[in-house]
């Protein structure tokens, strides 16, 4: 099997396990969801992943679980409740839902919101989700009282029939494998990849032709701070960023902001570095870290180089990066105490959709005045854009409707949205204006009267 081929093909075509379905092959439906278990010390951690976007190479040394691997002689409580509630109709999406929900229970301290979040990447065209929601509620009622969710170890899940017994042997079996991390899977012009969640969509054929080089899945610290900067390794996943205590300390809402990034499965794989290098004009994380004045640190064999994120993009999908360079680190100055940050995004469907427009604002206030302002916006130019003249205009000003309205005159000139499937030019212009209002309304509700902005 080509290491750059998708795990879905391995599962369906080589292993002939047909419970994992191909629904879209772009991570937008969740029918191919699998669990991937990775050993860290003695502890195994499972994540739900879209197998269509997962290169076979990434399975090295891991435990891959398909629906067949969850089946016991009797139905698991998740399977049973979905049967009882009729939460499966045609059945095509069902294995994916079962995997996602089972995966959510493997997280400690699971709550209702997180269970719902675990299926935001699973599409069902038959049920309208009502019976699925009922199943989850019943499951929770039976679960939350019975099981010690704080320490819901594999053992607890096995004891309660959520997982087959063999799961208990897996950590030892993985350890026995004693695998060596392999990075380069073919010679020559490899694709350097991390999560692959977007690379697979765009370049599956080339990946297979040229081969893949996976950035090591680095188990050491990925996010840290010193006196001046916060550092994030480029291969940090969206969910790792959302759950980082350091980032949560400075950005209490970061978990919510990035809940709208892809799906749960994608957030488990997609990385900050991938989002930045991919150079999509509407990358959610790029927009956020752009406003924070991030600096990119590249590594090549011989040297290290730093680039300001705001100077990194040269045109549509044009980036300031040499072929031999790898993005290693993203760093940004620690926000001062008087700083404010907000992120907003509108897409046709709120969850698992690409933004029509997204924007972040990062500002520092001094008394009534704005000491510094940094607003970024996606979907309004060929690349993620820092609204420099808008930000400059606002710097030093007082927050009033009038100032914001005046700033819009600069915004209008520095953006260049185009009409496409995510919205017309007219819509994107209006929407960005609305979202900038939304930033100020959110951050300074007492200073902005709602009546004034409509």
């Amino acid at each position: 099997m080509n290491p750059a081929a998708s795990a879905l093909d391995l599962i369906r075509k080589q292993l002939h396990l047909s419970g994992t379905k191909e629904g879209c092959r772009e991570g937008d439906c969740g029918t191919c969801t699998v669990l991937l278990g990775e050993l860290n010390g003695d502890v195994i951690k499972y994540k739900t992943i879209n197998s269509c976007l997962l290169p076979v190479a990434a399975l090295n040394g891991k435990h891959l679980v398909t629906i067949e691997g969850l089946n016991n002689s009797t139905l698991t409580p998740i399977q049973k409740v979905m049967v009882d509630e009729g939460a499966s109709q045609c059945g095509f999406c069902t294995p994916g839902f079962i995997i996602s929900l089972t995966g959510s229970l493997m997280n400690k301290n699971i709550n209702h919101k997180e269970m719902m979040e675990s299926i935001d990447g699973n599409i069902c065209r038959c049920t309208g989700y009502a019976s699925i929601k009922r199943s989850i509620e019943i499951l929770e009622m039976n679960l939350f009282n019975k099981i010690d969710l704080e320490n819901n170890s594999l053992k607890t899940l096995v004891e309660n029939n959520f997982l087959p017994e063999y799961f208990l042997e897996i950590p030892a079996r993985l350890k026995e494998l004693n695998y060596k991390e392999i990075r380069i899977y073919s010679s020559g012009e490899n694709f350097i990849a991390a999560g692959c969640t977007d690379l697979f969509l765009q370049k599956e054929n080339q990946l297979i032709e040229k081969g893949i080089e996976l950035i090591s899945s680095n188990k050491t610290q990925k996010i840290w701070e010193d006196r001046n900067f916060i550092y994030i390794k480029a291969n940090t996943t969206v969910n790792e960023i959302r759950n980082s205590s350091i980032l949560q300390k400075y950005f209490p809402e970061i978990k919510n902001h990035f809940e709208l990034f892809g799906s749960y499965q994608i957030r488990n794989r997609a990385t900050l570095g991938g989002n930045i290098i991919n150079a999509s004009p509407i990358g959610d994380m790029t927009i956020f870290f752009l406003a924070l004045k991030s600096i990119l640190q590249f590594k090549s064999d011989s040297s290290t180089r730093e680039v300001n994120l705001k100077r990194f993009y040269k045109g549509y999908k044009q980036i300031d990066k040499m072929p031999n360079e790898i993005l290693d680190l993203v760093k940004f100055p620690i926000p001062p105490k008087e700083s404010y940050i907000n992120f907003d995004k509108v897409s046709r469907r709120t969850y698992l959709d690409i933004a029509s427009v997204n924007t972040a604002i990062y500002l520092v206030k001094e008394n009534k005045h704005l000491k510094s302002v940094s607003i970024s916006a996606g979907g309004v130019s060929p690349y993620p854009l820092l609204l420099e003249s808008t930000s400059n205009y606002l710097t030093g000003k007082e927050i009033t409707i009038q100032t914001i309205n005046e700033a819009f005159e600069f915004t209008k000139k520095e953006i260049s949205p185009i009409s496409d499937v995510r919205g017309s030019e007219e819509y994107k212009r209006l929407l960005l204006r609305q979202l900038i209002f939304a930033h100020f309304l959110k951050l300074f509700p007492e200073q902005i009267a709602m009546e004034e902005i409509i």
């Binding site: 369906r12 419970g19 994992t20 379905k21 629904g23 879209c24 092959r25 772009e26 937008d28 439906c29 029918t31 629906i67 067949e68 139905l75 998740i78 399977q79 049967v83 009882d84 009729g86 499966s88 109709q89 045609c90 059945g91 095509f92 999406c93 069902t94 294995p95 719902m116 935001d120 599409i123 069902c124 065209r125 038959c126 049920t127 309208g128 989700y129 009502a130 019976s131 699925i132 969509l201 054929n205 509108v346 046709r348 469907r349 709120t350 969850y351 959709d353 029509s356 499937v421 007219e426 819509y427 209006l430 929407l431 609305q434 979202l435 209002f437 709602m450 009546e451 902005i453 409509i454």
Partner: protein, 761 residues
């Protein structure tokens, strides 16, 4: 255990076409499609790929042994385009190779030269240019022309609905393999095995008995596999027939979305006239149906549009006209509701516009004009038993429409950037294929010598739970444990000349046929028991819970004993039966008749919250009172209602099928075509069953459920407009679904200086 299908589903053990274990040596097909919406094929260069390693065959229209024709209603659709292409995605050539990847890579190397011809995307433009697929259709009742003068209020306008992509999660596909004697066996993901059989026979120039079609189950159909599974089955069959090898063709998602038809976009003009009291006196409507490049099922769909032009209302003077317009889009096709939803949207738009002009709530007009028993539809059928008013009244009693209105007004008065809205949506949907001859079905029941039962019908299990319903019917009639009953795949060698699983009728028609077969078997079995035990005819014998009862007294004799003894006595333990819906007819010449066996009724109330800053919205709740008849299975029926509703909501809101002016589909993947997800679906869906509803025309008094609830979704459009109106009382909002967040925001801020509602408390 009951719910056999679901148990397989949750374990990932159900087999869809792509999951079937295929024979060694199976080849893979990939289709080369037209890149242009309209043009003349000047040159097609296939030479280069013929010699590629792994490529086993390339087939074009020249290779078709029979007829290059798959049009069912009208023969206007080539299987493989020969000289002219009429839409982007029209199949031109089949490439067969040892692997999927090889077939796809070979396809990419094909070169084609096409001379552009003028193309049409818009149905009104097609109409203006005389591009009609069938002559105009017209239904009328009373005399609208003379009625207008009696009206106090007359409102006219335009209403439009866009298409809708099915997004059955299992894409189109088929596996074909040669059989002895030069025939072909096909596993197809189709709602209509007989139609596939007929189409393949036509294309291969074979008699139907040489084509066997087997359908395990579908991963969703929603109408998209009623007619449009034919082409893929025929292409796989053609390749298999020519190469004498098994050939598999399963469409990747993006191809499926690009090349298959969708729900028909409609543009319509309406004129409605009412009295000051809100009685609708006259309604005139003209539908321009965007049929796409060929007829497909469009004429039948247009008929249903006209049948449902007045939704759940009685209007004494109606004129409804429909034009089936040919454009250069992929042929549009059946989609849950089959033209009915498009008609009801226009009716509701007319009522909304009238209410707006009269300064009253639309639900005042809706309630006033609901159907009563004896009311006549524009096509002449008089309604025998109407639950339209009962459903409305019981919904109103349960949820208090006026209280909902007041609650929303209070909310809106105390919120500036967030507004709520609501709408009521009654639905009346006729049950039967409107093509009368299609209302027939047959069943084949075997009782095996161990007492287990195998049933074949042409009802395709595609998530609607028909297998479970059929099992229940058989288990109920035989009075045996449901686990003894198995539903077999649908197969044309076991069931011939079947109608597709469509029109919400699969449980009705196949259930009735099954009832006939089971009853005759039961009679044979009781006869056998009488013979065995020498019991006179005047003494009652029956089986209950797998035990023989004589005059209501249990005996020692079990179901298995009965079967064994009947078998030894050479009693026929198989039964084949047919059912044809009685009492229906429709004259297409006069457009009058009684096309429907019965009607399905219900009413819904929908509430939404609008974020007036961002133009995004949330559907808070939909509460429904629906007439299920006497439900065969409440879990299944409720699930059907909920699922249909959310599909309807998607169609009205975020599901946007967008073509560019060259006929190219822009929303061609799940990343650009968004269907409802778990967060988009309403937080609260409440389905209430109308009590004491019986329906002798349905199996065990049940009613069809597949399609009708979808149309409750239409209400969300008007609930959103209601909320938008609360924010911008003076704006006139477009009547063109879907109401995407983009459309909402642009119409809320169409005039940035417009003052907002001043009555903020």
């Amino acid at each position: 255990m009951s719910r056999y299908d679901l148990i397989q589903h949750v374990r990932g053990e159900s087999y869809f076409v792509d999951d079937l274990i295929i024979p060694e040596g199976t080849l893979y097909a990939s289709i080369f499609y037209s890149p242009k919406a309209h043009g003349k094929i000047l040159r097609l260069n296939l030479e280069e790929i013929k010699s590629l390693s792994g490529v086993k065959g390339i087939f074009t229209s020249d290779d078709i042994p029979g007829e290059n024709q798959i049009g069912g209603i009208i023969p206007d659709e080539e299987l493989l385009a020969k000289d002219e292409v009429t839409f982007i995605g029209q199949p031109i050539a089949i490439i067969v190779a040892e692997s999927q990847t090889t077939a796809k890579l070979a396809r990419e190397k094909i070169k084609i030269e096409i001379e552009d011809l003028p193309l049409i995307i818009d149905p009104r433009e097609a109409f203006a240019k005389g591009e009609l697929i069938i002559p105009p259709r017209m239904f009328s009742l009373g005399d609208v022309e003379s009625a207008w003068k009696n009206c106090d209020i007359v409102v006219s306008g335009k209403a439009e609905t866009s298409g809708q992509e099915h997004i059955y999660l299992e894409t189109q596909g088929a596996i074909a393999m040669p059989t002895e004697g030069g025939g072909v066996k096909i596993y197809s993901s189709t709602q209509g095995p007989t139609v596939v059989q007929r189409t393949v026979a036509r294309v291969l120039g074979l008699s139907m008995n040489k084509i066997e079609v087997d359908v395990p189950r579908l991963g969703g159909g929603f109408g998209g596999k009623e007619d449009q599974a034919n082409a893929w089955a025929a292409m796989a069959a053609l390749a298999s027939f020519k190469l004498k090898k098994p050939v598999k063709l399963v469409l990747p998602r993006q191809e499926d979305i690009k090349v298959t038809g969708k729900r028909h976009p409609y543009s319509a003009d309406f004129k409605i006239g009412l009295t000051n009291e809100g009685n609708i006196l006259a309604y005139e409507v003209t539908f321009y149906q965007n049929a796409g490049a060929s007829a497909d099922l469009s004429p039948a769909i247009l008929d249903r549009t006209l049948f449902h032009s007045t939704n759940s209302y009685f209007i004494p003077n109606v004129k409804a006209t429909g034009f089936c317009c040919r454009t250069n889009l992929p042929p549009n096709t059946a989609f849950r509701g089959f033209g009915g939803p498009q008609a009801m949207f226009v009716m509701e738009a007319a009522i909304y516009k009238a209410a707006e002009k009269m300064g009253i709530d639309p639900f005042i007009i809706q309630r006033k004009n609901l159907l009563n028993e004896g009311d006549e539809f524009p096509y002449g059928q008089k309604i025998k038993s109407s639950n339209a008013r009962r459903c409305w009244t019981e919904l109103d009693e349960k949820y208090q429409l006026t209280e909902i209105k007041n609650k929303i007004e209070r909310f809106n008065n105390s919120n500036i950037l967030s507004k709520k809205g609501f709408a009521v949506m009654p639905v009346c949907f006729g049950i039967s294929f409107t093509n009368t001859f299609m209302n027939q079905a047959s069943a084949l029941v075997h009782i095996y010598s161990d007492g287990s039962v195998g049933i074949t019908t042409a009802a395709i299990e595609m998530g609607q739970g028909v297998n479970e319903k059929l099992r229940k019917i058989a288990a109920n009639i035989f009075s045996i444990n449901i686990n003894k009953v198995k539903i077999e795949s649908s197969n044309t060698t076991r069931i011939a000349n079947a109608s597709p699983t469509a029109a919400s009728s699969s449980a009705d028609l196949n259930g009735k046929a099954l009832e006939v077969a089971c009853n005759s078997l039961r009679d044979r079995l009781t006869g056998s028991i009488r013979q065995e035990l020498k019991i006179e005819n005047n003494i009652s014998v029956h089986i209950k819970d797998e035990l023989v009862y004589i005059i209501d007294k249990p005996t020692e004799l079990k179901w298995e004993d009965v079967i064994k003894s009947a078998f030894m006595k050479r009693v026929n333990l198989s039964s084949q039966s047919q059912y044809a819906t009685p009492g229906i007819s429709f004259d297409k010449g006069t457009s009058k008749g009684n096309p429907f066996a019965y009607y399905s009724f219900g009413t819904a109330v929908l509430e939404v919250t609008l974020d007036c800053l961002r133009g995004i919205y949330k559907i808070d709740s939909i509460k429904v009172l629906h007439d299920f008849g006497k439900s065969l299975d409440k879990v299944i029926d409720k699930g059907q209602a909920e699922g249909a509703i959310v599909q309807g909501l998607g169609w009205m809101t975020i599901e946007d099928v967008v073509y560019n002016d060259q006929g190219k589909l822009l929303t061609d993947s799940l990343s650009t075509y968004k269907i409802p997800d778990v967060h988009f679906a309403p937080e609260n869906i409440e389905i209430n069953f109308l009590e004491n509803s019986i329906n002798p025309m349905g199996i065990f008094n049940s009613k069809a459920i597949g399609e009708p609830p979808l149309m409750y979704g239409i209400g969300v459009y008007f609930a959103l407009i209601n909320a938008m109106k609360a924010f911008r009382p003076n704006n006139i909002f477009p009547i063109a679904a879907p109401l995407t967040p983009e459309k909402v925001l642009l119409s809320l801020y169409s005039n940035l200086n417009e003052p907002i509602s001043s009555n903020i408390s």
